[in-house]
Structures are given as C-alpha cells and as structure tokens.
C-alpha cells in the first residue's frame, strides 16, 4: 500500500517537472503503478534502504539508486540492485 502511495506521489511530482527516483521492495506493485524511476532492492519490508547499522551497505545502495536519476532513459524504468539479504529469506514469508 505504501508502495502505491509513493508511486502516485512520484508520478505527480515528475509531471510537475521534478525528476524522481523511488526505492521499492515490492516489485509486483511497482510494475503496476509505474513510478517514473524505480530501484528494486530485494530486502524484507522495513529495510527499503538497507540493513540496520550497515553504514557502508546503506551508502552503496543510496549511491547506486541516486545514480539512476541520471541513468534512466524513460518513464517506468526499473533498476535492480543485486544485494542479497540472505539466501532464501523469501521462503519464510507466508504466501
């Protein structure tokens, strides 16, 4: 739900002439809402910009994401970061 709200904000701000980049942990919602530029980090919710007390990791994630402001070519582009939370944390999420 937060991902939808953030996507709607990003779209309107971009339409008003201000470039945006949106982080995402929920790739399926992002693909529907289509923020202008998205960066997918496959971490559990609550860790959109990194692990706690991992200054170096957080900085790397933010820098790669900010760079997408300049790198993206067209609206709806998604960059995927390759950072791994743990090998199979997704299995523990109850689907």
């Amino acid at each position: 739900m937060c991902h939808q709200s953030v996507g709607l904000i990003a779209r309107k701000v971009e339409e008003a002439g201000i470039p945006t980049v949106s982080m995402t942990s929920a790739l399926d919602i992002t693909r529907l809402v289509k923020p202008p530029r998205s960066v997918f980090l496959n971490f559990p919710l609550g860790h959109t910009t990194g692990r706690p007390f991992d200054r170096e990791g957080q900085m790397q994630i933010l820098k790669r994401s900010l760079e997408f402001l300049v790198e993206a070519q067209e609206g709806g582009d998604i960059k995927e970061l390759l950072n791994v939370w743990s090998k199979d944390w997704e299995l523990s999420v109850n689907l």
Binding site: C2, V6, E15, M23, P44, G50, S65, G75, V93, L95
Partner: protein, 158 residues
C-alpha cells in the same frame, strides 16, 4: 530467489473480499535531470511514519493524509514512529533502514549530491483514499518542493 508477490499476499490476507484494485498504468511520466547529482538539491520523503516527539503522531492504522516536516539536522533521539503495518523493529534501532537522514547528510558532506534539502518529509503510507491523496496531499508536497527549489526527489516506501 524470485521477488515476493505482495499482491498475492494481500489477496490471501482478505479472502472474503473482492481483490483490491491496485492503481495500474501503462506508461509513466519522465522529466530528465537538468543538472548532475553533484549540482542537485535533493529532497527525501518516506512513508515510514516517523515524527518528532513534539509533533502529533500519525493515525497508525490507515488514511492519514497529513505529513511531518523533519529538519535534516534533527537530533535523531527525538524521532518516534507510528505505523502498525510494517516490521519497524530495525527502523527503530536505525532509522536509516527506511528514512536515511544520516546517510543523506553524509552524501552532502562528501559532495555526492549538491545539497540535502531541509526539511525531509515523513508520512504514514497506508492510504486507501487515492482521490484525496492526489487532490490534497500531493499538491501540497509539490508546492513545498517548488518553493525550496528541489532539483530531484528521493522516495522511500515502507
């Protein structure tokens, strides 16, 4: 591992209700950057639900269309959180997981971005009232960003 399907997760959470109609678009607006990152004034907004202890808390359930302005030089010990719908255990220990204020200060100090625009913005993202979000809340954000001459916006959902 493949990404989690949160849409499927939400559907299974409410088996008695018709599937939620997510906002869906075929394309997206695009405004190219006019400056380099090193020259750009960047603003930060997060749906994390953080507020300063002398500000009012958010409605932690849903549809809170207010936001809080957080000065970027805030004393981090003054921040509190009201948001019941993500696991904020780690965010409470280190807000930079969802509201990277300290990291953005450092990005400004080392010159990776031109400026970290103050204030940063926090809201409670669980908003089902999409019309009110788009007609009331978003225009007030845009006005703020225009006034503070923001060159680009960094958004963090939670």
């Amino acid at each position: 591992m493949s990404p989690i399907s949160y849409i499927e997760l939400a559907r299974k959470g409410f088996p008695d209700q018709p599937p939620y109609q997510w906002s869906t678009f075929q394309d997206a607006p695009f405004t190219p950057m006019k400056k380099t990152l090193q020259e750009s004034r960047i603003s930060l907004i997060s749906s994390c639900g953080f507020y300063q202890k002398d500000q009012s808390p958010f409605n932690p359930i849903k549809n809170d269309l207010t936001f809080r302005e957080i000065p970027t030089n805030v004393d981090l010990s003054e921040l509190r959180i009201s948001h019941n719908f993500y696991d904020s255990t780690d965010a409470k220990r280190d807000m930079n997981c969802v509201f990277p204020i300290e990291r953005f200060r450092e990005l400004e100090n080392e010159g990776f971005i031109g400026a970290f625009v103050s204030p940063a913005y926090s809201f409670m993202g669980r908003i089902f009232m999409r019309r009110e979000l788009q007609d009331q809340m978003i225009p007030s954000f845009i006005k703020k960003f225009m006034e503070s001459k923001v060159d680009a916006l960094f958004l963090v959902p939670c």
